[in-house]
């Protein structure tokens, strides 16, 4: 190898002198060395890992930035609301987790899951009210949402960091490639979560509030509203000779309520004599689909891990009630940040869909249950 370099250098030194000669020596040596180096096994891969990991590190920093922002906002909110030690509170909540119920024994998973999820929510709520017993429900819901956002961002940050460190330790280009592929998506998620928190803290309705918005339009005309399950409210109106019972989460607090249990209780209260259940919800659009486009179909329109959705399915099966779904499409980001005007305008269209379903598929004198599924932040009833 050395012989080759010197030989080449010598052939090029004919008729040159001084600085130019020194320069061409250095140039050749550098060039050939680089060429030779790139043939050593592993060098190429090393440089590639270096570039990839720099890219992922940069993405990780962005996620960390969102996490810090969100943490700061949460601590500020807690401080304003009379929490003596906001840092300690956030510290305690940031790593909270819920363990999935055992699924190798598939009896009753839903009930166990519901118990775990419900008691987790209740525990966080109690942790807040323990510090400030006179907290208003609006602020409490904002703190609950903030802790959820901090929790989610913390998880994203830690998981990406975990794989980055692992890929570096194992020197694995395959893990690095995969990480580099998914990191931008998680940056987007983190950005959307951080934005969502700011929107919630101002009390602005989010895109997912479409369902509650539709329900509130019906409930405006109801003279009596009653609580049907935790954080969930219902009222009945008359429409073209039908009794329409409308269910939504109780606003304007930032909550999704328990619409499944609410519907179940309403139907049991009616003695099962319900001829139709209509669920209205925001749904994720595919790229290329228009925000605010409306579609109808069958089944429970609800983005729930299980317990609420199955409650409606079970009560529907028990009494043989068909379930209609009306959805309004939007992107993930549009669903968890400020409600877009297109979505607001789609509410009218969704109401027309619901009214048409009632007129076409039920007879006068029957009872219909309409559920507006989604987060009701900034939307009262």
């Amino acid at each position: 190898m050395n012989g080759l370099i010197i030989a080449l250098a010598q052939t090029s030194s004919q008729g040159q002198s001084g600085a130019a000669l020194a320069f061409s020596y250095i140039f050749y040596i550098f060039f050939i060395a680089l060429l030779a180096l790139s043939f050593f096994p592993g060098v190429q891969q090393k440089t590639q890992i270096m570039f990839l990991s720099r890219d992922v590190e940069q993405k990780l920093q962005m996620i960390e930035g969102y996490l810090k922002d969100s943490r700061g906002l949460t601590e500020k909110l807690l401080k304003e609301k009379g929490f003596a030690d906001p840092k300690a509170f956030v510290e305690r909540i940031i790593d909270r987790f819920v363990i999935d119920p055992v699924s190798v024994e598939p009896t009753d998973i839903i009930n166990r899951m519901k118990l775990l999820m419900r008691s987790n929510e209740d525990t966080v709520r109690e942790m807040i009210t323990a510090v400030n017993p006179n907290i208003d429900p609006m602020t409490r819901s904002q703190i609950e949402i903030s802790t959820e956002v901090v929790n989610a961002l913390n998880l994203i940050y830690k998981v990406i960091r975990h794989y980055l460190i692992m890929a570096k330790k194992l020197n694995s280009i395959m893990i690095m490639y995969q990480l580099q592929m998914v990191a931008p998506i998680y940056v987007k998620y983190a950005e959307a979560y951080a934005k969502a928190q700011k929107v919630f803290l101002q009390g602005i309705p989010i895109g997912d509030g479409l369902g509650p918005l539709v329900a509130s339009r019906f409930l405006m005309k109801a003279d009596q509203k009653f609580t049907v399950s935790k954080d969930t409210i219902a009222g009945s109106i008359e429409f073209e000779g039908r009794k329409v019972v409308v269910v939504k989460a109780e606003g304007p607090m930032a909550t999704v309520g328990t619409p499944g249990e609410g519907v179940q209780n309403v139907i049991e209260r009616e003695g099962g004599r319900v001829s139709r259940i209509i669920t209205v919800d925001a749904a994720l659009k595919l790229e290329g689909e228009e925000t605010g486009s409306v579609a109808e179909g069958m089944g429970v329109a609800m983005g729930d891990p299980g317990p609420e959705k199955i409650a409606i399915e079970r009560v529907a099966v028990k009494y043989g009630i068909p379930i209609d779904a009306v959805i309004v499409k939007m992107s993930m980001e549009e669903a968890i940040t400020e409600m877009r005007k297109e979505v607001y305008q789609a509410a009218d269209k969704a109401i027309e869909y619901v009214k048409r379903i009632i007129l076409e598929r039920t007879k006068p004198g029957s009872t219909v249950v309409v559920v507006g599924v989604g987060n009701t932040a900034g939307i009262a009833q």
Binding site: P205, G251, K285, E334, M339, Y344, A380
Partner: protein, 64 residues
Amino acid sequence: MAISVDSKQNLKVKTLIKCMQCDYTQERDFQVGDFVLKLVGNCPKDNGPLYIAGIYAEAVTSKK
């Protein structure tokens, strides 16, 4: 995964106020404390109750 790349647009949040009795409507900037169906005074036309019918974000189109 449904994540769109349109997050760079500027949004302005508006509050739409309507009268319960006539067709009076008014759009103004969102203020903290606003929520949908909140009662916000009386109608200048027929003194009917005014309520917030919607709160939504519009993309700001910069005219330059």
